[in-house]
Symmetry: C2
Subunit: 403 residues, 2 copies
Amino acid sequence: MPISTEEFYSILASRMQASSIREILKIIQSSKVISLAGGMPDPATFPATELKMVTQKVLTENNAQALQYSSTEGLKQLREFLLDYLLPENRKETLENIIICSGSQQGLDLVGKVLLDPGDIVIVELPSYLAALNAFHSYGGETVGIPMDDEGMKMGCLRETLNQLSKDGKKVKFIYTISNFQNPAGVTLSLVRRKELLVIAREFNLFILEDNPYEKIRFEGEAIPSIYSLDEDDRVISLGTFSKILCPGLRMAWIIGNKKIIEKIVIMKQATDLCSPILNQLIVNKYCRNYDLDKNIASNVEIYRQKKDVMLKALNKYFPAEATWTKPEGGFFVFATLPEYIDTDEMFMDSIKAEVAYVSGSPFFANGKGKNTMRLSFCYPSKEDIEEGIRRLGGVIKDRIRK
Amino acid sequence: MPISTEEFYSILASRMQASSIREILKIIQSSKVISLAGGMPDPATFPATELKMVTQKVLTENNAQALQYSSTEGLKQLREFLLDYLLPENRKETLENIIICSGSQQGLDLVGKVLLDPGDIVIVELPSYLAALNAFHSYGGETVGIPMDDEGMKMGCLRETLNQLSKDGKKVKFIYTISNFQNPAGVTLSLVRRKELLVIAREFNLFILEDNPYEKIRFEGEAIPSIYSLDEDDRVISLGTFSKILCPGLRMAWIIGNKKIIEKIVIMKQATDLCSPILNQLIVNKYCRNYDLDKNIASNVEIYRQKKDVMLKALNKYFPAEATWTKPEGGFFVFATLPEYIDTDEMFMDSIKAEVAYVSGSPFFANGKGKNTMRLSFCYPSKEDIEEGIRRLGGVIKDRIRK
């Protein structure tokens, strides 16, 4: 008689369900649907020829190393490159402050694993990155959302919420923020708020987890110092990734922060997967040493800027006057808000019939709100598909507008 | 004021400590010490030229795919290859029974994550693979060890232990076994015991986690059917890896088993790292399709057989009569037992002074025993180093033999 599996799942595993984005992507793969759903980079931004050349070099010059086990912390030369690339010359950080990980999703997972007991609170933005919420939930972390405006998380609400949680005897471990061109809302945390966030984190004695995948994909305006760079207490853990500035297929990312936290993350990563693939680390390292990463990023930003412009123009043309949306200064996403009586989850199958897909907003909201919102990605589809996709979607929405 | 980290760690993370193997390997890297410690394959066994060629092809023909995000389940073609390669023609398994993961360590981690609540019991062999114990402990699993003899886990003890655990109200989730050329003890579970294990697992309604990295590295004797292949209840989850038959640097492994468990593992892996690197999957798939994996394995087995012979000969020559050791029919390790009054942990620094390293046995024992045992690897060092390393180690041990 076959074994019955249900009774065997851990409590936390039995709570975890398949993500809606994922199920959507499965539907889309083999159809004519134009997808404004996924957050995949445009393959035109991958320096494929250069990556092929450095890979060939690595497999010629370092094959015994490239095919062998390696250290859990990650390739020393790549960590050195990152310290030089990311930080000012007079930095305090050493190799002990950084670990290479398999995508920033693994960074989210490892930080959750090191810091969260079931019932611990993580403060998140409303809305926030779905897969981050999942990573925290997978360790029993509970996510409490703070509303945002154009400058990011509202600091008054944050303080109020932290006071209330403290009164309720809840243990808050860290504040999770995607500081630049937030996924999904596209908002960037202002400099004033970054400083205030650090003051509040100090006051309540919390870590801050700054997830920063889109920082370099800026179309306009001036770069704002990262929260990590403003921190004087060693309380900011920073996640970065090559997925959006080089390519995601190598799964190469990093965590920088407090030495003791990194040391514990190393121990936990060892139990998780021993080490990230060294071939991939050698490829990225050689690419970064032999080519100009910033030049590659600059030409990619131009590609995404044009796509963003096409999407904003199409939204103006095809979306009803009742809808509003963000005008992102960077990143991959536009976040749209429809009239309250339109449920984007419920509208989804109609939009698939019209051969266009998006991600409905509610799964991104830790408080279950946002039913009338949606995330629209301009990163992957062609300009023609963006225009046509928004046209189709505009039609679906207009059919639901009450006169 | 810098943040104080200790109070932030999760309960499970605060229990996890750096592994002694890992610390040993750090010491060794930059010294003249001959290491009989690590389990790294011999780089001479990597088909480096062929891997370079297929990588070049992948990055020429499939670069947009190879550098992009991919599915959590893993590359369909590679999963199809594995189903064909591993299973009989009339198999019941489909693509839903298999997931690609980042090394079998990730397999251990994901199975732990899906099945273990804190306090749940995992039955393990005495001794067992250290990093597996760590993976289970990282989810709060408690490991209970069963003694082995030449045929593997003693079934009488297993039944007795399960009865006792049941009386004590303990929840046992699964039995973990490395069925072939066990790490560290080198023992292979006999066919009779495999069948008995399945009967007991059915009787007590448990999963079996069969970890099978060394199966193909057999020097002599006939292959024994895997526990997985003998299972009729869908209760065996099988871990396999390319690390020992191709190379570990790509971190490519797989989990095959019960569809519902695999489905839950997919959900948990998504929260863990989204997907394993697709470049690595395409490389392995193309290698397996264009070259003869079994032929590569056969020539590698010859390399390891010779090294094993050198080690056994050296042990006979240089170890004192008071020591005993296994004569492995396959795998990477010899497990040695010294007189009870010799503590291999305590002896370790003397052996480093004599410029030879091993792994002391006690960390492998879930019950804290095995203080007079040691694991000796013949996989990585050259034949000359194996001979010289055993000669040095023999000297260190002989100095401690009581006359």
